[in-house]
């Protein structure tokens, strides 16, 4: 899946890209398919197993797409977090 980008610099990962939108679209579908897939599978209905399979597939694909980007965003943000926390406390105490 060469059209899915899996290597990110922190600066590039900060932008909203198609990988975010793919995750945003897949995520609700995976919830719906898992909800009804699990319930209908418990009643041994064949369509339930199909839904469940689709739900698992979508979930796996979603994490495959979004995880590298989230890792890059997290690593980059953590470097600046302490500075932001200091500013937050200044605001809390009306010092800015």
């Amino acid at each position: 899946m060469s059209w899915i980008r899996r290597n990110w610099t922190p600066h590039e990962a900060d932008e909203w890209t198609k990988e975010d939108w793919i995750a945003v679209v897949l995520s609700p579908f995976s919830y719906v398919f898992i909800t009804f897939g699990v319930a209908m599978s418990l009643f041994l209905l064949p369509i339930g197993f199909l839904f469940l399979g689709l739900g698992i597939l979508m979930t796996a694909l979603m994490f495959y797409v979004i995880d590298p980007k989230l890792k890059a965003v997290s690593e980059s943000y953590e470097r600046k977090q302490q500075e932001y926390l200091k500013e937050l406390e200044k605001h809390q105490r009306w010092e800015e």
Binding site: P28, Y31, V32, V38, L70, S74, R79
Partner: protein, 540 residues
Amino acid sequence: MVHFTGLDYFWTIAYLVLMIGCGAVFYRLGKRSGADFFLAGRGLPWWLPATSNFATHTATDTPMWFSGMVYRHGLYGMWYSLFAGWCAVSAWVSARIFRRSLAGTQAEWATQRFSGLGAELIRGWLAGWQVAMNMFIAGWVGIAMGNVCNYLFGWPLWVGLVLFSSLCCLYVITAGFWGVIIADVQQGITMFIVIILVSIWAAMAAGGPSKIVAGLYNLGMSEMLNPFRSTGFAKGDYPILWLITMIAVPFLGGFGMATHFDWFVEAQRIQSARNVRDAGYSIWWGAAAVIFRNAIWALAVLAVVVMTEGKLSGDEAALAWFKVGFEYFPVGMVGFFFASILAIHISTIAGILNLGSMYATRDLYHHYINPQASEDKVVRVGRWMTVVVLLGSFFFGIMIGKDIVDWLFFALWLMIAGTWLPNILQVIWWRFNAWGYLSAWIANLGICWLVVWILPAFGVIPNDLPQHIQFWILIVLVAMVYIPVTLLTKPDDMDRLVKLYVQTRPIGFWGPVKREAERRGLLQALAEIERKAETEAKGA
């Protein structure tokens, strides 16, 4: 009435000792700072807040309304439970933005997102509203426990309300959010095991899954197995418009913040996660566990439908899941089941008490009353505020009595109907300002009463207007107030917006703010710093 054996008492008492013990074990961590007392130090791996999300969102009243819905509508009733679907989108959008803001509460976010007097008014309002709302939620969950204890032991309603919430309060006061999160993990695992066990017992009692399906067909209720049934676009019991509302509201709501009352609870867990990725994962997996739980519950409820031939009244159906546990579990396991109900109850109450206390302490006391308070003082006030929220919950709980459902729906309406869209706009549109947001809240409070209670009482609109129609009416009416207010007042201070943009990178229509940040060289400077840090890291 249920008969307890010695082993049943053992399970119950052992569980309570374990929960209160958490307070003692995590006492030292909880008192280190305000961030520890309310956010467990902001360093948790994703699975801890995820389990806590699951435990907090499985309250005593949850199996009641879920059983009622599925008993009445079959698998179609599960759409009601998909309100948790906002987490599907929020995990990758608003949770990421909120985590980057580092705001402890939604009220604190308001003073980062908006500027000037309007921002402070919103913060004060949201904080006060959340203190009251958390008292109310703890009250209605508490009175649900009162109902369960009334059914089990014949106790007066107030005993179940006061006794278990007070015991729970002990470990929340002692260890703060550390106690809440660790106890939630134990409670989450306990309740998940019991939910599976009860469902298996129910299915076995009804003869197994195939027999349940056959039973539904024999009763002429096979439609119960169809989650996609419809009676036309806007009419009948299963209109497509309702389904569209139930899908659009949660999933689109994930782009915003506070589009659902659960957001306020999740926001605390988002900030307790150790980084942006873990925050998103905690939200996604917490809600995934919730929908997985619902699917398992559905098995038990439909088993009860077959066993009772669908003849239970609404009140009896609401207790269907509890009845399965108490009537079909073997001797000695009833106490284990009761302990798991306590887990369900206490995990919600604990989270709510700590959250209410956080708004009272962080946003009201620390920001407005004593900004120079030491960390030690903040923790002490946090403990007192926990007690205040507890006492408030008793007041609301006794006031609600047994009419839980009406109150619940109206409270949800007050929270989300007219403010749903403004809560999305505050994230995706830079021009939406403090006065627009404030006016939306005020308009919603007034129009909500009008649409839900007053106009139907005077016959201006039909008395039986479906709730999804009420929702869209409220969206339109409230928008007629806040859109003009926004456009007729000045945008928020550009310095504030640029700062927020650089720190949180919100999604949507932020073009002018982004260009201003670029003009000031802020984005380029950040990129340069990141490049250097990466080069140094590679070199090392």
